[in-house]
């Protein structure tokens, strides 16, 4: 690009920088605000003194939240679904994307299978029939109801199969000549070459499992099986004041307002994502670009 040193160009550039920086601040300030509230005392919060930095610093809200059995239990459910669900997702996606990435002369039914897969992305049975199916298959109330229905994320399959297809064909031919079978080819050659795409899919599926709440809400009959986000929903969104028992009332008196504890739980609920985000986002951008913008 050619440098343009005129006065207007420099002004425009400054305006642009300012605007961009403001815009990105706009995206994180609400989160910082919540973080500040969660670390402030009830008094400071209700007097409106807290904006972007904690006032009258205290960890009471966090102490209270982390001591709550419900919170820890739902965190456990979520951890379980991430630890079981993500590997299942990855395995099935790889095993599906690999044959679908083959040409039709290698895998004659490819188009049929591919449409069979993509069709599910386009047409849904709807909420009620899905609910009834879950109930009929007897996995209501178990962690499997949160894992099995989404075991094959079709979007990721499509992303990965498009990635597989753009790998050089010569690699495959060379491997076969050296006596490799399909599994050796897949696990020794294709997968090591697909790490950025796989990182993207892992991120998708981890974030998906971490953030999912609706399945937990409808498939789990009792609150003790709720995953974290569903549990957070019950306290953040539903805000049932009648459930404020005596224990909560005492807590309220002890410098922990409902607002600061809620803020603490919002912040804890987003913390894992904030932590993994910077590491994975580099891969992620590469992956999404390769999957969505072909060529």
């Amino acid at each position: 690009m050619v440098e343009d040193r005129s006065w207007t160009a420099r002004t425009l550039s400054t305006v642009n920088y300012t605007f961009m920086i403001m815009l990105s601040l706009l995206c994180v300030l609400p989160l910082i605000h919540i973080w500040a509230i969660s670390l402030s005392s009830n008094m400071a919060v209700s007097s409106g003194a807290v904006t972007l930095w904690p006032a009258d610093f205290t960890l009471d809200a966090y102490r209270y939240v982390l001591g709550k059995p419900d919170f820890l239990r739902s965190l456990g459910v979520t951890t379980k679904r991430v630890l079981i669900g993500v590997p299942i997702n990855l395995l099935l996606v790889v095993l599906m994307a690999y044959p679908l990435s083959k040409e039709r002369n290698v895998f004659p039914w490819r188009t049929v299978y591919a449409w069979f897969t993509v069709f599910t992305m386009l047409v849904h049975g709807g909420l009620i029939p899905t609910y009834m199916t879950i109930r009929e298959t007897g996995i209501m109330n178990s962690v499997w109801a949160l894992i099995l229905p989404g075991a094959v994320p079709v979007f990721s399959v499509v992303l990965l199969l498009n990635f597989f297809r753009q790998l050089p064909k010569e690699l495959e031919e060379a491997a076969f000549i050296d006596g490799a079978g399909h599994f050796t080819l897949l696990f020794r050659i294709i997968i090591p070459l697909s790490l950025p795409a796989l990182a993207t899919i892992t991120l998708f599926s981890t974030v998906g499992h971490w953030n999912a709440w609706f399945d937990g809400m409808i498939f789990m009959k009792s609150p003790e099986h709720y995953p974290l986000q569903t549990y957070l929903r019950t306290i953040i969104i539903e805000l049932d004041l009648t459930s404020l028992g005596s224990e909560d009332a005492i807590r309220l008196a002890e410098n922990v307002s409902e607002r600061t504890t809620r803020a603490a739980q919002i912040f804890l609920g987003s913390l894992p994502i904030l932590l993994v985000y910077p590491f994975l986002q580099k891969y992620f951008m590469k992956g999404i670009v390769m999957g969505s913008v072909k060529g």
């Binding site: 601040l25 909420l127 029939p129 899905t130 199916t133 953030n211 609706f214 999404i288 670009v289």
Partner: protein, 278 residues
């Protein structure tokens, strides 16, 4: 897995044509033909819900298309790589938060009594606004917060398209005396056109999805009038009031219209952007 949890539910739509009673099962329930549908059409709030769905999602699609393009163009003008990367990273962040988290944040900052937004407005002498409780404002709050969550994502896609433009074109344009504005209009925008068309057509297929997760976490009975969408209606009818057949009928209606829209938009995408899914 796909077979069980996606295909079996698809066949479940037959109950839309039945007077379904769970205890009797699908085979035991009485067939009523189109009765559920005609009952729906007579429901006074049915049209309202359809209107809301279209209104909210068309605004979302429009805003979600134009804004990221502008941001991508502006971002592309920045010379400092550090600022560029940081901005990308930050604007992309809300995309990864669930609507539970974002909903919680929204409820807190938009609260009429103690929210920071209304505190700020008070500084300018504006009366507190009840963003989430006023039917007039609710759809715009939805559009705004949806944009806030997802514009970063689309911006990245457009930015990727921008980096794919051949730099020689710009050099040639500069030699021919084109300024930055002309370069943008005659090189950058045409270069982005395939991706823009692609994004636009693909979002066309999503028009009946006005964003269940978002609306469900932000709405309340006070704003049903303007905020209730098809998916939330299905949820309340089906799982809260247990009118299984009616809810399925609404769902089937939605799937049917969506299928038409999706086929149409994929056709457009194939024709104009030569896009195929696999």
């Amino acid at each position: 897995m796909l077979l069980i949890y996606h295909y079996i539910p698809t066949f479940g739509f037959v109950i839309a044509f039945q007077h379904f009673i769970p205890a009797k099962g699908i085979t035991g329930s009485e067939w009523v033909g189109w009765e559920n549908f005609s009952y729906l059409i007579k429901l006074p709030n049915f049209y309202n819900v359809i209107w809301n769905t279209f209104y909210i999602s068309i605004m979302k699609v429009a805003a979600g298309l134009v804004f990221p393009i502008v941001i991508a163009l502006l971002l592309n003008e920045l010379r400092s790589r550090f600022v560029k990367r940081s901005v990308q990273t930050l604007i992309y962040l809300p995309h990864f938060m669930s609507w539970i988290i974002l909903g919680g944040i929204m409820i807190d900052i938009l609260s009429p009594t103690r929210g920071i937004i209304n505190q700020l407005l008070a500084v300018f002498g504006i009366e507190p606004l009840f963003f989430l409780g006023s039917p007039d404002m609710f759809p715009y709050v939805l559009v705004g917060s949806d944009l806030w969550k997802d514009f970063g994502f689309s911006t990245i896609v457009y930015l990727a398209a921008l980096t794919g433009i051949n730099p020689n074109l710009y050099e040639a344009a500069v030699i021919d005396g084109a300024n930055r504005w002309k370069q943008t209009v005659y090189i950058t925008l045409p270069g982005m056109a395939p991706v823009i068309i692609l994004m636009a057509t693909l979002s066309l297929g999503q028009i009946l999805n006005a964003g269940f997760e978002q609306v469900f976490n932000l709405y309340n009975p006070a704003v049903y009038e303007t905020g209730d969408i098809i998916d939330t209606l299905v949820y309340r009818m089906g799982l809260v009031q247990a009118q299984y057949s009616l809810a399925t009928a609404v769902g089937l209606f939605k799937s049917f219209v969506s299928l038409i829209l999706i086929s149409f938009s994929y056709m457009l995408a194939y024709r104009f952007a030569n896009y195929r899914i696999f």
